[in-house]
């Protein structure tokens, strides 16, 4: 088994920050200060989150873990909303997509007995699922926004033929969901070839047999595929509802 690095070891690794600082000042890159601030911020943030997680793992229980995941979905939806600037109720659409993507994926894993409900499992796995769902929601909203701005004439031509909104907008919806899924499909396809993914890397460093570590990684990849797909679809559906008014009109969106 590998030993976990001591604080002294961490301090030694701080010398590597000095390498970056040296390069930045020697080459007069003008980012010396940024490098120092970023390194210190990372230290403070990780110590803080480590302390919070340590507390959560011992005291939170299942309910606390779920509450933590729920809180993360609200933060994630707020991030995604920025991608859908101008789309009415973008926050709600993203929130619904991320919630449904996260709940359905985690639900299958828990009910299927794939993962345990201990906070130290639920919270990190939930974090990965929320993060994946958030990226899917963001890409979906951003693609929908672009479609509405670029393809308005085509959508209105279809509406003008008496087609209902969901038909007039079908092509844009397909494009949005497909665009959102491309990154995760690509990364799933080349997993292990280009870089060793995080879950597996962590387990291997912690001394787990690689053939066991990959099992966890496979579960994580499949879980993320589902989370992305569900979140993209639900976000797109919710946004479509907000993009058309009662008279089947595409609402105006600032370019």
């Amino acid at each position: 088994m590998t030993t976990i690095p001591s604080w002294t070891a961490v301090a030694v690794s701080g010398l590597l920050v000095l390498v970056a600082v040296a390069i930045a000042s020697w080459q007069r890159l003008g980012i010396t200060r940024d490098v120092v601030v970023a390194a210190l911020r990372a230290l403070v943030q990780l110590v803080a989150i480590g302390a919070v997680l340590a507390w959560l793992f011992t005291h939170a229980g299942v309910a606390g873990a779920l509450a933590w995941i729920l809180a993360m979905t609200f933060v994630a939806a707020n991030e995604s909303r920025r991608r859908g600037r101008g789309i009415p109720r973008a926050y709600t659409s993203a929130l619904v997509g991320i919630l449904v993507g996260t709940a359905s994926t985690l639900g299958v894993l828990v009910v299927g007995g794939v993962i345990s409900t201990e906070p130290q499992v639920l919270i990190p796995i939930g974090g990965m699922v929320v993060s994946g769902s958030m990226q899917a929601a963001s890409l979906t909203l951003s693609s929908l926004r672009r479609s509405v701005v670029d393809n308005r004439p085509a959508v209105e031509a279809a509406l003008s033929l008496g087609l209902p909104a969901h038909q007039a907008f079908a092509r844009e919806m397909r494009t949005a969901v497909r665009t959102a899924l491309i990154p995760t499909v690509d990364s799933t396809r080349v997993v292990g070839l280009i870089s060793l993914p995080g879950t597996m890397t962590g387990l291997i460093i912690a001394g787990v047999d690689p053939l066991e570590a990959i099992r966890y990684q496979i579960i994580v990849m499949y879980m993320l595929l589902a989370a992305w797909a569900v979140s993209a679809l639900v976000t797109a559906r919710a946004a479509q509802g907000a993009l058309f008014d009662d008279a089947q009109r595409l609402v105006p969106i600032p370019a």
Binding site: P153, S160, Q248, R249
Partner: protein, 285 residues
């Protein structure tokens, strides 16, 4: 209200297709349309002419509820458009946008966009109706068509829905004169077979040639109206009138033959004054 076969179209005989009652539209503090009161007749070509920015495209979008007026109301065959099912309204009065845009990558699929079950022979008939030879155009990609051909394909796509009226936004503005003539003659033939057409155009000469009835729009107001042949359209368009003054070429409601050369009344045209159901009027010939 009586028409006999062979008689000329008389505008006063025509029921209202659309009525606009004191319609105004204000967007971001700008008055796009300003108290428009108009009657658009059934079964004829009505052109709304005016310089760009005069509000004419917006007027068209109000008719099929792609836009909503700030005040006033719009009636379709006597019923407020807001009381009608919007999808059905749009199938009765199909709007063809200014920039012809294909929604599929196949000519037959394009015709079927809003009429999925349309049999092959009906698709051929529609292509012929817009002067696109089915033998030549079936199987082609809309992207390979010229501007005028694509515009006519969009007309076929609109006709496939089975509308009573077409709302055409600048149907010939992007076309060379020859292609524009081809589109104009298709428009005339459609009206001769009983359809109503409302078209907007900045080309007042061309609009005057194809239309029975003309409205001239300036800064959101109708500044002249009447049968096409009676308006000095060049004059109307070139000289915006003083505020609020309307030049009637003649009272359109009491006017005589509008387009004797190419607008014979369809035999057995409807003779009722106010059909009770605007979306299901008496059968057209």
């Amino acid at each position: 209200m009586r028409r006999t076969p062979g008689a000329y179209v008389v505008l006063v005989d025509r029921a209202d297709l659309f009525s606009l009652e004191d319609v105004s539209l204000v967007v971001d503090g700008r008055r796009i349309l300003d108290g428009v009161d108009e009657h658009i007749h059934d079964g004829v070509v009505t052109a709304v002419a005016g310089p760009s920015g005069s509000g004419k495209s917006t007027l068209l979008r109000l008719l099929n509820r792609l836009a909503e007026p700030t005040s006033g109301r719009i009636l379709f065959r006597g019923t407020d458009v807001r009381e009608l099912d919007v999808l059905e309204l749009r199938r009765h009065a199909v709007l063809v946008p200014q920039h012809a845009v294909a929604l599929t990558d196949d000519v037959a699929a394009e015709v079927r966009v809003a009429a999925p079950g349309l049999p092959d022979d009906a698709v051929r008939a529609l292509l012929s109706r817009v002067a696109l030879d089915p033998a030549e155009f079936l199987g082609r990609r809309p992207a390979s068509l010229s501007g005028g051909e694509l515009q006519r394909l969009c007309l076929a796509r609109a006709l496939a829905v089975g509308p009573d009226a077409l709302l055409l936004d600048e149907p010939t503005s992007a076309l060379d004169p020859r292609s524009a003539d081809a589109v104009d003659s298709v428009i005339r033939s459609l009206v001769d077979s009983g359809l109503a057409v409302v078209l907007v155009s900045h080309d007042v000469v061309r609009a005057g040639r194809v239309a029975d009835d003309v409205r001239v729009l300036h800064d959101g107001r109708v500044t002249a109206r009447g049968p096409a042949r009676d308006l000095d359209l060049h004059h109307e368009l070139m000289s915006p009138p003083a505020d609020g003054h309307v030049h009637p070429a003649d009272d359109p409601r009491t006017h005589g033959p509008a387009h004797p050369q190419h607008a014979p009344a369809p035999p057995g045209a409807p003779t009722t004054d106010g059909p009770p159901d605007p979306l299901h009027p008496p059968e057209q010939p």
